[in-house]
Structures are given as structure tokens and as C-alpha cells.
């Protein structure tokens, strides 16, 4: 037996999803154990083993892949609790990470309202203070040629000084190192010789991209979170191995796959932004099972709303990341967020006397007013409760009891100030948040050249299925799918378990069309060699290796690029010519017919190879089918719900999701209660339970 095992550590629970060779999924949860998260992981895996009737060690020895998404790096950034970092740069360029490309340092990742108000805008607290930056004599030019050789004595003195300052991590970024990495590599070895215990990272290995600020930011962040994150990752691996697991621990990364722990410990930067990726991979996995090629995956939790896309069976990527206002270039699954969640706070704009929702959130503490934990500001969840969407006695499966009076008091204040009645006001709040979400989805679809009408919408997260019926309708999506059953409750863990091993290799080499075929082939050859070598080292069988090529192209002098897929094999002039056609096709899709202008010249900026080691995939078992009519136990109750589209309250049937069976059909208006969320089915919508236990709602 070979099991796949996915782990996701949340604020409260650590989830574990185990998939056996037959595709059977076992899910288990244990309390998270902050301080020593490994304990919670062991407990969760043990709980899964129990369900399988196995001792922990037996499960682990038979586990082919143990995959885990970690937020240790993210938490280190958020809490600003990272290492004391020393930074080594080219002489004359030590201020790169303080200049931060000017305004970019003030505005990257910052909400617009703050950008427009200068008095609120600032650069972040520096991740590497100026006294911990050492400039070293060396210089390479744009061709990669050495202008001034590395001065080793100077480098040694720099490392000495930084070590004297007590740094526990050293980041190295020299100009043009992505064209010629030798100086960086030499200094890296120097650090390893002089201080073997210090975490060291250099830009040509981590992010060989064009642009010294973004490279420097990337290595500095990698160093900042490096000691904490790598310690965590390696000790977790060690611990799992001590319990019998015999293979490398796999860590979720932002690019949309997993990487072995040793790799992750070297490049924990890649674990940033990986949080929502597990959910998207799970979506891809479910979409593959259901046969959906295009999916808009939406996750609405307490504080934020995340959106990712799967287009033509592949997650859509982005190439820019931001952490604490530092920007860097790493290919990642493109997931966009806005501060629209159940906890988003409702305010009144004094001037326009209109409702505003978010981006401030009541979070989990104190939480919405109806949580009764001292929150008094009205939130989206309070509105949901007043509208009858939520059951005060069965919120999160009854884990939190909601106080309807507190919600009415909080929303009442806002309603009175606007001369609205309580229900109108609550309905307005729901509508605004639903439209904000629809707007974000438009941004990641229409603005990127995708038409939401070609997509199926997935909604998950505690608050998603409450509101998805409306934003799905707004977008005109083909259907709304609410992943259900056991897998839903361990969605991210399942994503980790179903991820392939992924390494992304990139090479910047700016080429003008017509492209030099020999150089193109050589570039891909070198990238693919690296990918093959690494996957082989990691023990991936040759037949499981897949190498996916792409290039970033643009019209000459533009900085925004379009990623274009490249076929495998030796490329000649016909294939390279076709590349330009494909680029222009994609460009016009994005920016409109006639927006291209070949006369400006076409360039390739970077070459990319995604080296994938395919892992075994779980198979979701089909459930026994029932008839169209839900059983009596599934449809026991009813409650009053306010439906905006009808403009009135209506007695509405309430179903228990756990008792519904494939084939069951429900006609809206209706409410379905499931342990982790509530599904709101609007009038004129129809839902059906599919053969895997998911809800499919016709919008």
C-alpha cells in the first residue's frame, strides 16, 4: 500500500488528508500546537492512521509522499520576527534595498486609499538596516563579462564585519549575477567556509531575474525568514522520519507544486504566498475529476476573499510578488485577495452617506458583533445572520453560537444613520460585499483577457458558499460548484497531497526577433538539464518527469510580458515564427484587436522550464446515488429568510448537507447547512448533488 498524505496547519486545527491507492480519502484533524507545530502534525497523522486501523509508524513507512503547506515564513514576515540579516552587494549599490525603486517601496501591495493619502504612506521598516549592508569590490556588465574581478580580501572583510555584527543570515546580490553567477557563488562559498552555521542565500540561485532591486529584495527576505523557516522544515522532516517516514518531506510552494524539504529549507521564500495555493491545487484536482477545464476558484474566509484561476486545465500564474511592500519576481500561482470576508466591518461614508464594507476586518478576535466576544462594529456575518442566511445555533457546525440581538444592535446603528430599515441595510451590506467580490473576479478574468462565462465557479471557505450564488450570477459563470463532503473540510491538505513536485528554472536572455534558433535551443537545453538533474537527485522516476517550456515575450521596449508556451524538441525557424504568432494572438486577446504592432519589433526576455515530477493522484470515490428527492432526515426544518430579489421574507426549507445523497435536487430558495459553511440557494437557482457529493448550482 502506498499512501499520499497532505498536511495543513491552520490557526486552530491541523488537517490531515490521506489518500490510498484506490483513491479512498481519510481525513483527520488535531488541534494545532503553536510553538511546536510538529506535535500537532504527528497527532493529526496519528488520528488518520487510527481511522485506517494502522499504527502511526506503519502508515508513515507506507507513505509515498508526505506534503505540507507551511505558513512559518509568512508568519515571520507578518510578525517581523526574522533573522538579523547581513546583505552583500556590488560596491556603489548598497542602497538598492533602501531606495526600493522609489515610490514602489511606498505603494507596492498597499491599498489605494493609503497611496492617495501621502500622510499615511511610508516605506516599510527596513528588513536590512543600512549598517548591515556591505559593499564589495566586483563588477559584471550586461553581457555577463567581468569588468572588475571579485576582490576576495574585500569580500572576506565584509563577511567578517557582518559576522562581527552578529548576523545569523547573509544575503548576496551582485549586479548582473543572473548573467554571470561566479562572483556570487564565490562569496557564498566564502561565507560557508567562514561561518558554516549562518544561513546564506544568493540571488543567481534563488531568483535569476533581470532587475537588481527585485533580486535583492528576494534574497533579503529569503535570508530574513531563512533560519526560522529552514529550522522548522528540517526538524519536521526529521521528526516524521523518526516516526518511520522514509522519503523527503514535501513542502508546498507558491509556484503551484511541492518541493523537497531540503530545497524548501534553502529557498523558504517560495513558501510565501503558498497558503491559498493548496486550495487552488485541490480545485484543479477536483476540476480534473469533474472534467472542468476552466475554473474560477474563490475562497472567502473571515478576513479576505482570494481568487485564483484554472484555465485550460492549468493554474494561471503571475510573476510579481510583494511581501511587506518589498517586491520581487518569482513565478507563482496568481491568487488575488481583497479584504472582503465575513468579518469585514461596515462603516458609513459621512460625505456620501453611503455604506462602505471593509477593508478593515474584525478578524477572529473580537470577531463580528454576533460572536458575542466584545465586537460591536457591524460586519458581513452580522448581516448574514439577520437575513436568515445563517442559523444562530448551527454556525460552523454549532461550534460558535451567534447572538442575533448583538447583530441587530450593531447593524441597527448603521441603518438608523442612513434611514434604512434593519433588513434593507443588512441586504445592502450583503450586496456590496458580493459586488466587491465580483469586481475582484472581473479583475483576474476580464482584465487578463478571460471571459468568466467560459468558467465554472468554485466557492469554498467559511463565508464563500453564503455569497457565491450572487457573485456567481453577477459574473455569468456557467455553474457554481461547492466542493463538499469530507474533502471540503481538509481542502488545503488535500491540495498538498495532490500536488506534483515542481521546480521552476528561468534564464533571462533578451533576444530580438527573428530569434537565433541555436541560442533558443541552448537556453532550453541548459534549463532542462538542471531540471532533470534535480528531479533525478530527488528520486523522481524518469517516466514521471515532465518538462514544460515557456518564454516571456513582448514588443520591444515594453516591460510587460506575455508568457507563451513553447513546444518541446529542437526548435527551428518555423516553430520560432509560430511563437510570434502565438504571442500576438495572446496579446490581442489581452489588449484588444489591433493593439499589437509588429513594426515595433518582438523580443523574448526570459526562458522558463517548469520541471515537474508527477506524483500519484488520489481518486475521489463515487458515492452511491440516491433519487432526486432528498430524504426526510435531510430536509427536516425551515426558517424565515429575507430574499432581496423577492423583496420579502419567505419561509425557506433548510437541508442538512450530511444527509444529502448524489442525485438529490433542491430548488431555490433554500438553505443547506453543512458543518463548515452554509450554502444559500437563491430563488430561480437549482442545486444538484453530483456523484462525488459536491453541490452543483445552476445559476
Amino acid at each position: 500500500m502506498a499512501y499520499l498524505c497532505g498536511i495543513d496547519i491552520g490557526g486552530t486545527f491541523t488537517d490531515c488528508a490521506v489518500v490510498d491507492e484506490a483513491g479512498r480519502i481519510v481525513v483527520a484533524k488535531a488541534l494545532s500546537t503553536p510553538g511546536d507545530f510538529a506535535q500537532g502534525v504527528v497527532n493529526a497523522v496519528e488520528a488518520a492512521a487510527q481511522q485506517l486501523g494502522l499504527p502511526l509508524a506503519d502508515l508513515l513507512t507506507q507513505t509515498a509522499a508526505l506534503a505540507h503547506g507551511t505558513t512559518v515564513g509568512t508568519n515571520t514576515m507578518v510578525q517581523r520576527s526574522g533573522a538579523k540579516v547581513g546583505l552583500i552587494t556590488t560596491k556603489g549599490h548598497g542602497d538598492v534595498i533602501h531606495i526600493m525603486r522609489g515610490a514602489s517601496g511606498r505603494v507596492a501591495g498597499v491599498p489605494l486609499e493609503k497611496i492617495l493619502h501621502f500622510a499615511e504612506s511610508s516605506k516599510p521598516e527596513p528588513i536590512v538596516p543600512k549598517p548591515l549592508i556591505a559593499e564589495v569590490t566586483e563588477r559584471v556588465d550586461y553581457k555577463g563579462a567581468v569588468v572588475v574581478p571579485l576582490d576576495l580580501a574585500d569580500a572576506r572583510a565584509a563577511v567578517d564585519r557582518l559576522l562581527g555584527e552578529g548576523v545569523t543570515a547573509i544575503a548576496i546580490c551582485f549586479l548582473w549575477s543572473f548573467k554571470n553567477p561566479l562572483h556570487e557563488q564565490r562569496v557564498r562559498r566564502l561565507v560557508e567556509e567562514m561561518a558554516p552555521r549562518v544561513f546564506v542565500t544568493c540571488s543567481s540561485e534563488l531568483v535569476p531575474k533581470w532587475g537588481e532591486y527585485e533580486r535583492t529584495a528576494a534574497v533579503a527576505i529569503n535570508a530574513y525568514i531563512g533560519p526560522t523557516a529552514s529550522r522548522y522544515i528540517l526538524s519536521l522532516e526529521e521528526e516524521m522520519q523518526s516516526f518511520g517516514y522514509q522519503r523527503p518531506l514535501l513542502i508546498m510552494q507558491c509556484g503551484g507544486g511541492v518541493m523537497p524539504a531540503r530545497e524548501a529549507a534553502r529557498a523558504p521564500l517560495l513558501t510565501l504566498d503558498s497558503g491559498p495555493v493548496g486550495g487552488l491545487i485541490a480545485s484543479k484536482y477536483l476540476a480534473d475529476t469533474m472534467g472542468c477545464r476552466n475554473v474560477i476558484a474563490t475562497d472567502m474566509g473571515g478576513t479576505s476573499f482570494d481568487v485564483g484561476l484554472i484555465h485550460d486545465g492549468q493554474p494561471v500564474s503571475s510573476y510579481v510578488s510583494v511581501a511587506n511592500q518589498y517586491r520581487y519576481f518569482v513565478p507563482r500561482i496568481d491568487i488575488k485577495s481583497v479584504g472582503s470576508g465575513g468579518g469585514s466591518i461596515v462603516t458609513i461614508d459621512a460625505t456620501s452617506r453611503s455604506l462602505r464594507v471593509g477593508p478593515r476586518s474584525a478578524g477572529a478576535e473580537p470577531g463580528p458583533a454576533c460572536y458575542g466576544r466584545g465586537g460591536s462594529e457591524p460586519t458581513v456575518t452580522d448581516a448574514d445572520l439577520l437575513l436568515g442566511y445563517l442559523d444562530p445555533d448551527y454556525f460552523l457546525g454549532g461550534r460558535i453560537r451567534l447572538d442575533k440581538e448583538a447583530a441587530a444592535a450593531a447593524i441597527g446603528k448603521v441603518a438608523a444613520a442612513l434611514d434604512l430599515d434593519l433588513v434593507q441595510c443588512a441586504a445592502g451590506i450583503a450586496k456590496i460585499v458580493e459586488f466587491q467580490m465580483a469586481d475582484l473576479v472581473r479583475k483576474v478574468t476580464i482584465q487578463k483577457g478571460y471571459d468568466p462565462r467560459d468558467f465554472v465557479l468554485f466557492a469554498y471557505g467559511g463565508a464563500g458558499p453564503v455569497h457565491a450564488g450572487v457573485y456567481g450570477r453577477e459574473l455569468g459563470a456557467q455553474a457554481l460548484v461547492i466542493p463538499l463532503g469530507d474533502i471540503c473540510s481538509v481542502w488545503s491538505a488535500l491540495g498538498a497531497a495532490s500536488s506534483d513536485v515542481l521546480h521552476i528554472f528561468e534564464q533571462v536572455d533578451i533576444l530580438d526577433a527573428p530569434f537565433d534558433a541555436a541560442r533558443v535551443n541552448a537556453n532550453f537545453g541548459a534549463l532542462e538539464d538542471k531540471g532533470l538533474r534535480l528531479l533525478r537527485q530527488e528520486g523522481v522516476a524518469a517516466e514521471q518527469v515532465q518538462l514544460i517550456r515557456s518564454v516571456d515575450m513582448r514588443y520591444k521596449a515594453q516591460i510587460h510580458q506575455v508568457e507563451v508556451a513553447v513546444p518541446e524538441g529542437e526548435l527551428g525557424p518555423p516553430e520560432l515564427g509560430a511563437l510570434i504568432d502565438r504571442f500576438e494572438e495572446r496579446y490581442e486577446l489581452l489588449y484588444g484587436k489591433g493593439s499589437g504592432y509588429r513594426g515595433a519589433g518582438v523580443q523574448i526576455e526570459s526562458f522558463r522550464c517548469r520541471a515537474v515530477g508527477r506524483t500519484a493522484k488520489p481518486v475521489i470515490a463515487e458515492l452511491p446515488a440516491g433519487g432526486p428527492i432528498p430524504s426526510g432526515t435531510a430536509s427536516a426544518t425551515a426558517r424565515d429568510v429575507y430574499w432581496s430579489e423577492l423583496g420579502q421574507w419567505q419561509r425557506t426549507p433548510v437541508y442538512w448537507g450530511v444527509h444529502l445523497r448524489p442525485g438529490n435536487e433542491i430548488v431555490g430558495p433554500a438553505i443547506v447547512e453543512v458543518p463548515d459553511t452554509t450554502i444559500v440557494i437563491h430563488p430561480d437557482q437549482e442545486a444538484k448533488v453530483d456523484r462525488f457529493g459536491n453541490f452543483v448550482i445552476r445559476l
Binding site: T90, A103, S104, W176, S354, L355
Partner: protein, 778 residues
């Protein structure tokens, strides 16, 4: 109809265009003005959000598709959304002044193109005439009417800086232009897209002027793509919500912004606030500087802006009315409308502009205006920013929104031209100064290399980007010591870069800036001016030998060579293989008296290299000990008292016993003045010691002790203006005769009377200042 006033026809031909009270629109063009009576707060919020997003997306489309490095890095574009009668709804967050020039171009188009060739659904107009309303010729405006059921519903518009449109200097910034005939030809609005089809003839006409027609072709397409996208999205809203509802939301956005503006305005006293600056070197070889003045007067619910006192148009430092007004709108938007997503339309209803024609900030045809954004326009923005800042400082709440003049406030333009290492021609200003710096706030320091307020999200390119496309090798690019103004709250620091040639034999430079001789980053309420911009050139240096020996020199002072003084406006400067070129830009201006800065903050500034030990001692009065690692608290207190006493001693005075300290202030005017009632009327008093400084009907500076000091005393990062100018310019400080405390500073010409910068009180005001108020000797 164009405005006719005092015998001047503001026609957009000889004189700048200013629309009159009503627009003369051909009856064939019907306007949609039907507004839904009731809009519920939810629909309002949904549509408001949508309209902002549409405009932002409009900008993103331009950014992604333009081929111009200026557009991309300098974010030198901006989309805007206007009503059918050209009231502003939204500006984008990009180059601010660009939106400020669109409304009048639309009005001109409606007045002059409605009948022939007609304005119809599917048409788009292109325009770059600064007398009609463009900022300068390179800023090409593309205007797109959005129709609904045969009526003009609204306008989407954008402005984008085109790479090169001809003229005597590559890049089309023509620092040596004698007049507009040396520059790109201005096009009044022409129909570039007719019923949805790009007109090849008009496009060819536009491209033919350019040294880089392919890039300009991409730019034109990018602008059209932006317009088309925005138009389609708005049409979608009209289909869904109905035109009256969408129009109702547009009106309400503006009405709300108007109410918000008025609420702030009503917190302020009536009065006039004024700032002046001196812009140097109007043409190559010139050794003079020219005065520019902006006065803002608040009268009830109205703000009146004037430029009276500004010198006549001259050389190539000019801007037209549109640039002057657009720059003022930028400052106003940032100070008053940030909480309304930059909807300046509501405020515009309460603004009156009283331009003085023929000045270099409101120039007549055919003045040279191709450099307007980096000359007359930045000047106007800076002046308006300080004048408005001093105005809002009268209210304790609004005071938090004071932003002192930012770094690189007169763009430190270094034009480089030649053939690059790939065999391609280039001609472009270096965009590194986009790094800028934010000026100080009234409660905290400015932000070093924090960008510029005129382009809130503009960036500087990576060194690697420039080295890839230009034949240069940077020796260094660093934040520059002392370049931020000194003050209680320090201005952010600017930066300096040096480079040599690489894979070429020649780069030809031209320089265009101001604020290199006379500082233009003027502080607020005794804050010191920021450092100056500048250029450096070392000829015949040993740099190549040094690099060859494995050394990496980074600063001019480390390299042996013959220093050449480059002027702020000089063309055709060759840089050859043994030459090192340097460029630096001043930082942000400061707020408040540097002697009041927290000594510990000064110690940190020194440690981080933002302030030199000399400036810490001489300007901040901070004594450091232990290798500059500690503050000598006693020494600092003593040094600061000594500085104040020295000021008084120079006038034969000694610090006086404090008289009646703590008299209640009727109003605080900035940091160091308060208004008190002395029984006979309202007078100014020193906020520190209560010493009386005269009636509020008079200039308080006349009662202060005025000391002219050399300009270099204001900062080690300010050089001697005499290098470039024949007249003497001084750093003038006004001290309280009672305590020796610093009340205000001026950057001025020797012999000028004090600038009357603050006049409080209704009824005592004249809307037009007298010459003496301006410190003019005429």
C-alpha cells in the same frame, strides 16, 4: 464660447483657451443629462466602485501596452473619466497634472469640432496643442466620447507622453528652443479614429514627426486600447443600470466630493497665502533666474489662484495656462480630495483662476513650452503645494495633510543621446530622478527616495534596465547625504549616481533643470530648503585605469580628473571614454525649525548617512560624542541656546525675559505664530515667547529680525548659486526679536523685500496682490 475678459480673448490660438460661462456646442451634438432622482446607497456604492475600477483599468491597459520607457517607468500617463460636460469624475493614480489638463481640451473639442468634422459614436480625438490644453506637445491627449442612444453620455480620456515627436532635440524636450517653431508642432484636436476605424492618414501625420515612429505607433494604439476598454465597460453599466442611474451616480460622486471639499474649506479662515521661487537659466548661456509666484486666496467658499508677480515668458522655461492650472489642481487634489479618490470635480466648482497672460507660467503663443512639465509646471505645483499647505496649517486637523515640497521637484533632467551597444539610436531623459523623495509632514519626516507626489506611483528603473539599453556602466547610485531639507521634521533624502561609458565611444548629454543654482525645495514654517539638483563631469579621469587595476571607485571625489562645471541648461556635452558623469537630485523640503528636532533622531540620521556630522552641529545644533554614537545632551542644549543668542547678538540684542507667555491664541498660524488680542485688535505674537510681531493686517516678517546668509548655509548639499547666476541669491532667516527663535526662512534675491506669505482675515484682503506684497522692487 472662449472667455473674453479685460480685452483678452482666451481663444486657444494666440492665447491659451479658457472656456467661457457656457459652451457653444453645435446643436447636432446632443448631450445626455437625464439624472435618476433617487439612487439607493447600495447601488451608489456598487457603481462608484465600478467607475473607479474602470478608470484604473484604463490606466493599466496603457501601462501594459505602451512602448515608451518614459510612460512605463515614469508612469507618464493618466486616464480620466469626465461627465458629458467635462466635469472631472476620476483621475487615475498616475501622472497627476496630466488629468488636470483634459477637461478644457474636451470643452474646446465640443465647441470646435461638433459641427465639422462632427463628434459621433465611435470617434476618438487626438490633441497635443498646449494652447488648447495639452501640457506640452509630447503629452498626447486622446479623447473618446461615450454615446448612449444618440446622446453624448460622458468622456473617457487619457494622456500619454510620446517618446519623440520631433523638434531640435531628440526626445522633444528642447532646452535650447527659441520658440515653439523649434519644437514638435502642436496639433489641435483631430479625429484619429472615425466611427471605430483608425484613420491611417492622421496616424501617419502624427508619426511622421517622430525620430521613433514605431514606438509612437505603439503609444497611439495603447491609448486607443485604453479608451476602447473604458468605453465598453461604461456602456455595459448603462445597459444594466440605465443611463439616468449611472449619470446620477456620476453627479453624486462629484457632489459628494464638493461637500467634502467645502467641509474642509470651512474650517479655515479667510486669507491669502503666497509662495515664490526663482527658476534659473531660461536658455543656454543665460545667467539669470526668474521669479514665479502663486497666490491662493480663500474668500468664503471660494479659492482664487493667481500668478501675478511672475516674470514675463522667456527662453524655454514656460508653460501655458493649462499646465499652470493642471499643476495647481494636482496640489489641490492631493491636499483636499484624497478621501474622495481624487475626484477633483467637486472642488473645481469653487475655484477661480486669474492668470496673468504673458508670464512664464501662463505663456502666449509661440513661446517654447516643450519642457513645460519639468519647468513652469513643476514650479507651479511646488508653489501651490506650499501656499495651500500653509493655508491648511491654520486648522489643527487639516494640518496633518501638509506635505512639504518633494525631492526632484524640478526634474533633474539629464538627456542622453547616441547610438547604443546594439546599434540603435536613443534619445531620452534618464529616469533615475523618479526616485525623488517625499518632503516632510507636519508630524513626521519625509521619505528618502520615496518618489514624487506628482506621480504617486512612479518608479525609477533598475540600474540593470538602463545598462541593458544604454551604453553606460554605473559606478554607484546612492542616497545622498544632507540632500533632504533640515528641520524639526526632515525632508527625505534624494540620491546621486555616477557612470562611465560602456561599449561605446560617446554619449552626448544635454541638461535641463532648475533648482541647481537656487534651491526650489522650499521648506515650510522655518523648515530648511532641500539640497539642489546637479550634474558633474570629470574629464580625462583615471577611472579606466582604476577599473583595470581591479578597483571600483564610486564617488567623484575618489577619482582624479578635470572637473567641468555643467550648467543647468546646456546642450551637446560629450562624454568620452575617460569621462565620469554624475547626476544628483535634491531631496524633500523640511518642516519646522531644525533646532527643535529630537537630538536622538539627528544621531540616527548621522549614523545612517542621511545627515553629515557638520550639519548636525551647525544646522541642528546637536553635539555628538563617542565617535558620533551618542548625543551629548548638555552640549546640545547649550549649543542650541548659543545659536539663538548669536542670532540676536548680530542685531545687538539679547534674549529678553518672556513677556506674558501663554496669552491665549485666537488662532495658530503654522508653528511659530499665533494670533492674540492685544486690546486694540488682533496681532501676531511669537508662539514661543509671546513677543508681538505686529497687526495681522501687516506682514509679520517686517517685525522680525531678518538676516541674509549665504545660500550654502542652508545645507552642505547646496552649492554657491554664483557658479551659474550673476545676481546674488541668499538664504534669509527671520528671527523673533524676543527669543531669537526661527520664525521663517526665504530663498530670495539679495535686496528683495520680504515676501508677504500669510495674510489672515477677511476684509483686509485684496484679491490681487500689490507688487510690494510679492517682495517685488518694481
Amino acid at each position: 464660447m472662449a472667455l473674453v475678459k479685460d480685452g483678452v480673448i482666451w481663444d486657444g490660438v494666440e492665447n491659451p483657451y479658457i472656456p467661457g460661462e457656457t459652451l457653444a456646442i453645435d446643436p447636432s451634438l446632443r448631450l445626455h443629462s437625464e439624472v435618476a432622482e433617487e439612487i439607493d446607497p447600495v447601488t451608489y456604492e456598487v457603481l462608484r466602485y465600478n467607475l473607479w475600477n474602470i478608470n484604473e483599468e484604463h490606466g493599466l491597459t496603457i501601462q501594459r501596452t505602451s512602448g515608451s520607457p518614459i510612460a512605463i517607468y515614469a508612469m507618464d500617463f493618466n486616464p480620466s473619466l469626465l461627465t458629458e460636460n467635462a466635469e472631472f469624475i476620476y483621475y487615475g493614480p498616475y501622472m497627476q497634472y496630466m488629468s488636470g489638463v483634459t477637461d478644457n481640451q474636451i470643452k474646446w473639442t465640443m465647441e470646435n469640432r461638433g459641427q465639422n468634422p462632427g463628434i459621433e459614436d465611435g470617434d476618438i480625438f487626438l490633441s497635443n496643442d498646449p494652447w488648447v490644453g495639452a501640457a506640452h506637445q509630447q503629452d498626447v491627449t486622446v479623447l473618446c466620447p461615450v454615446f448612449w442612444e444618440g446622446k453624448l453620455f460622458c468622456w473617457v480620456a487619457n494622456v500619454l507622453h510620446h517618446y519623440d515627436l520631433g523638434g531640435i532635440t531628440p526626445s522633444s524636450f528642447c532646452p535650447g528652443a527659441r520658440d515653439v517653431f523649434d519644437e514638435p508642432a502642436p496639433f489641435p484636436p483631430v479625429k484619429i479614429v472615425e466611427r471605430g476605424v483608425l484613420r491611417r492618414d492622421i496616424e501617419a501625420l502624427h508619426l511622421r514627426r517622430s525620430r521613433k515612429p514605431n514606438l509612437v505607433a505603439l503609444d497611439v494604439r495603447s491609448q486607443i486600447a485604453g479608451n476602447t476598454m473604458a468605453k465598453e465597460r461604461i456602456t455595459g453599466l448603462l445597459e444594466r443600470y440605465g443611463a439616468p442611474t449611472v449619470k446620477g451616480v456620476m453627479r453624486k460622486i462629484i457632489d459628494d466630493a464638493e461637500r467634502s471639499f467645502l467641509r474642509k474649506l470651512r474650517r479655515l479662515p479667510d486669507g491669502s497665502w503666497r509662495e515664490q521661487t526663482f527658476i534659473e537659466v531660461a536658455y543656454p548661456g543665460d545667467r539669470h533666474a526668474y521669479r514665479a509666484v502663486v497666490t491662493v486666496t480663500k474668500e468664503g467658499d471660494k479659492l482664487i489662484f493667481e500668478n501675478a508677480g511672475t516674470d514675463p515668458q522667456v527662453g524655454a522655461i514656460n508653460t501655458t495656462y493649462s499646465g499652470w492650472r493642471g499643476s495647481i489642481l494636482t496640489a489641490l487634489n492631493q491636499i483636499f480630495c484624497y478621501d474622495q479618490l481624487y475626484c477633483v470635480g467637486g472642488a473645481v466648482r469653487h475655484l477661480e483662476f486669474r492668470p496673468t497672460l504673458g508670464t512664464f507660467t501662463v505663456a502666449k503663443f509661440p513661446a517654447s513650452v516643450s519642457s513645460a512639465p519639468v519647468q513652469g509646471m513643476e514650479t507651479s505645483l511646488n508653489l501651490a503645494q506650499n501656499a495651500l499647505g500653509k493655508m491648511i496649517a491654520c486648522d489643527p486637523e487639516l494640518k496633518r495633510d501638509v506635505l512639504c515640497i518633494c525631492g526632484n521637484n524640478m526634474f533633474a533632467t539629464a538627456l542622453i543621446t547616441g547610438v547604443n551597444q546594439h546599434g540603435e539610436r536613443y534619445g531620452i531623459p534618464l529616469l533615475d530622478p523618479m526616485g525623488g523623495a517625499l518632503g516632510a509632514f507636519s508630524f513626521r519626516d519625509g521619505i528618502s527616495t520615496g518618489g514624487m507626489n506628482r506621480t504617486p506611483i512612479g518608479e525609477l528603473p533598475n540600474v540593470e534596465y538602463n545598462e541593458q539599453i544604454y551604453p553606460m556602466l554605473y559606478l554607484s547610485r546612492r542616497e545622498m547625504t544632507d540632500s533632504g531639507g533640515a528641520g524639526k521634521y526632515k525632508g527625505g533624502n534624494g540620491a546621486i549616481l555616477t557612470f562611465v561609458l560602456h561599449d561605446t565611444e560617446l554619449i552626448t548629454h544635454s541638461t535641463v533643470t532648475s533648482g541647481a543654482a537656487v534651491p526650489t525645495g522650499i521648506g515650510v514654517f522655518a523648515g530648511y530648503p532641500a539640497g539642489t539638483n546637479g550634474y558633474g563631469l570629470l574629464r580625462g579621469s583615471d577611472v579606466r585605469a582604476r577599473l583595470g587595476r581591479g578597483e571600483m571607485p564610486t564617488d567623484l571625489v575618489e577619482i582624479a580628473g578635470e572637473p567641468v562645471l555643467l550648467h543647468p541648461r546646456q546642450e551637446g556635452i560629450p562624454q568620452r571614454r575617460d569621462d565620469v558623469f554624475a547626476l544628483w537630485w535634491g531631496g524633500g523640503a523640511a518642516y519646522g525649525d531644525p533646532l527643535e528636532r529630537d537630538p536622538e533622531a539627528v544621531r540616527q540620521d548621522v549614523q545612517l548617512g542621511y545627515v553629515s556630522p557638520a550639519a548636525a552641529r551647525d544646522i541642528y545644533g546637536v553635539i555628538l560624542a563617542g565617535g558620533d554614537l551618542d548625543v551629548d545632551a548638555m552640549g546640545t542644549t547649550g549649543r542650541r541656546a548659543e545659536i539663538r543668542a548669536e542670532r540676536l547678538a548680530a542685531f545687538g540684542r539679547r534674549p529678553q525675559e518672556r513677556e506674558g507667555v501663554g496669552r491665549p491664541a485666537l488662532m495658530t498660524v503654522g508653528e511659530y505664530l499665533k494670533v492674540v488680542d492685544d486690546g486694540a485688535g488682533k496681532v501676531y505674537a511669537c508662539a514661543r515667547c509671546d513677543h508681538e510681531l505686529g497687526s495681522i493686517a501687516d506682514n509679520y516678517k517686517l517685525r522680525c529680525l531678518a538676516q541674509d546668509r549665504p545660500m550654502t548655509a542652508a545645507s552642505p548639499a547646496i552649492g554657491d548659486p554664483a557658479r551659474y547666476l550673476d545676481e546674488e541669491y541668499v538664504f534669509r532667516q527671520y528671527y523673533c526679536p524676543g527669543c531669537g527663535g526661527l520664525v521663517e526662512n526665504e530663498v530670495t534675491r539679495r535686496g528683495e523685500p520680504p515676501l508677504w506669505d500669510v495674510q489672515i482675515g477677511a476684509g483686509t484682503l485684496r484679491a490681487s496682490p500689490r507688487a510690494t506684497d510679492l517682495g517685488s522692487d518694481q
